[in-house]
Symmetry: C2
Subunit: 249 residues, 2 copies
DNA sequence: GCTTAACTGCTTACGTCGTACACAGGGTGT
DNA sequence: ACACCCTGTGTACGACGTAAGCAGTTAAGC
């Protein structure tokens, strides 16, 4: 149990050492992870099987187990590898910084919608995700917030982006699964329409009829602006619920 | 394909009609859904198999298929049934209303952490979720916002709560999977600690050493207050990016 | 009443998944 | 040369979702 957990930590934080003896490996941990990411991107999370990943590499399923302990660990490695593609938040003004961070994460989720669909076996981010978070903490570290507040501020942004991302991922998945695009689906709403009666769903039917669902505001842009406004109010307020303390390095 | 989608809609929106002939069913759709929810609550999303659900009902796996088309549809029904447990947002002042809505959803996710872990086959909420959303829309409908803005405001709150919920669900899952509680895990951090070096993770190590991670602010409470503050700024601002129009019924 | 059609739940079976295990061949150390 | 460790493969097992077909049970139509 505990050794399992430790092994999992080592897997993420310590690069695999190359062996001196034995035949040169055609595969490698990073090649496996890379291939798995490609499969998930192209065919969705349901198609992400050990056999499928191995197939794209021209190997058998079991060959993967020489480079990766198991599927759930492979998922952990995939997630952290994708985090590695994002840029660190540069130092600077806090709002611009948090916005940069949010956009990076959002872009990551859009490029790899499966990120939020798979439940990783981790309790803690890997090194790539960690350094990104660290940089985000840094950008709000000079504001006189307490350590707890720094964490809370960044976490709030993270939660919002996770929420939007999750919704988007589900949409992408439904689209792939059914082969019906978002628009096509809403057009073939015959079976559904009769249930949208003003007495059961007054606001829904009203908003529907007024076309508010057809040209919605950008969920990410709108929400992010509001979240940052709310954080600004907190940061700039004279008397915060908790003590101000200098926590920057 | 399309008939599949229509069948899925009917499944959620039209209550199953009781047949006149044949033996009285010991099972029923709602009993199956109920049992499945209990299994997911008690044993987690991984234990949610057709055989396990049937077992708790004293039946065989295949008997479930008389009452539910398949597993993914069962998941849809479970999700909507849980939404049915929450209370509708009462009419009233917008901020209190949105806060009530957020707390309801948050309580729902805490009671059923699996809700955000399973990818449902829907592209659209079921009737229970719909009526809850409708009530939430209603509470911001008298503020002179446009229809698009009403949707965006409520969606923003929803995304935030989804984000926090998702994080919590992953924690619960990791706890169950490993049998190690959050505290126990952080205490046995030996294998991890050596990687927290000030040069790689300056803020992390600082926050860690200052104990900011040990007594974090409540992620939900803190974030919700900020999000609502941000929405308040938007709602109360004189000149919003988009037109004000009366959209209430 | 009897027949018939509808409906229930069960048994069996198939294909797919993750992966344990044993193995054959290649390459480095001694 | 040997021993050792490494590589990828083949086979196999148990668990999953679920298709198909089979009794047994009940109400509707004659």
């Amino acid at each position: 149990m505990k050794s399992d957990r430790d092994r999992s930590v080592r897997l993420l934080w310590e690069p695999p050492a190359e062996p001196t003896r034995g035949p040169k490996a055609a595969l490698s941990q990073s090649r496996v992870v890379e291939a798995a990411i490609k499969v998930a991107d192209a065919e969705g999370v349901d198609a992400l099987t050990m056999r499928r990943v191995a197939e794209t590499l021209g190997n058998t399923a079991m060959s993967l187990y020489r480079h990766v302990p198991g599927k759930s660990e492979l998922l952990d490695l995939m997630v952290d590898a994708v985090w590695g593609e994002t840029e660190h938040t540069p130092k600077g003004e806090w709002r611009a910084g948090l916005e940069f961070y949010a956009r990076q994460v959002w872009a990551m989720y859009r490029a790899h919608p499966w990120m939020l669909q798979l439940t990783t076996s981790r309790r803690m981010p890997g090194p790539q995700a960690m350094t990104r978070t660290d940089a985000a903490y840094a950008v709000v570290s000079e504001l006189g917030l307490s350590g707890e507040e720094i964490v809370a501020v960044v976490t709030t942004v993270g939660h919002f982006v996770d929420g939007v991302g999750r919704t988007m991922a589900d949409r992408v998945q439904a689209e792939r699964e059914t082969g019906v695009s978002e628009e096509e689906w809403w057009n073939g709403r015959d079976a559904l329409w009769e249930h949208f009666t003003p007495d059961r769903l007054p606001m829904m039917t009203h908003l529907w009829n007024s076309g508010s669902f057809e040209r919605p505001l950008d969920e990410f842009e709108f929400g992010l602006a509001r979240v940052l406004d709310g954080l600004a109010a907190f940061i700039e307020s004279e008397e915060r619920p908790l003590v101000r303390t200098r926590t920057c390095l």
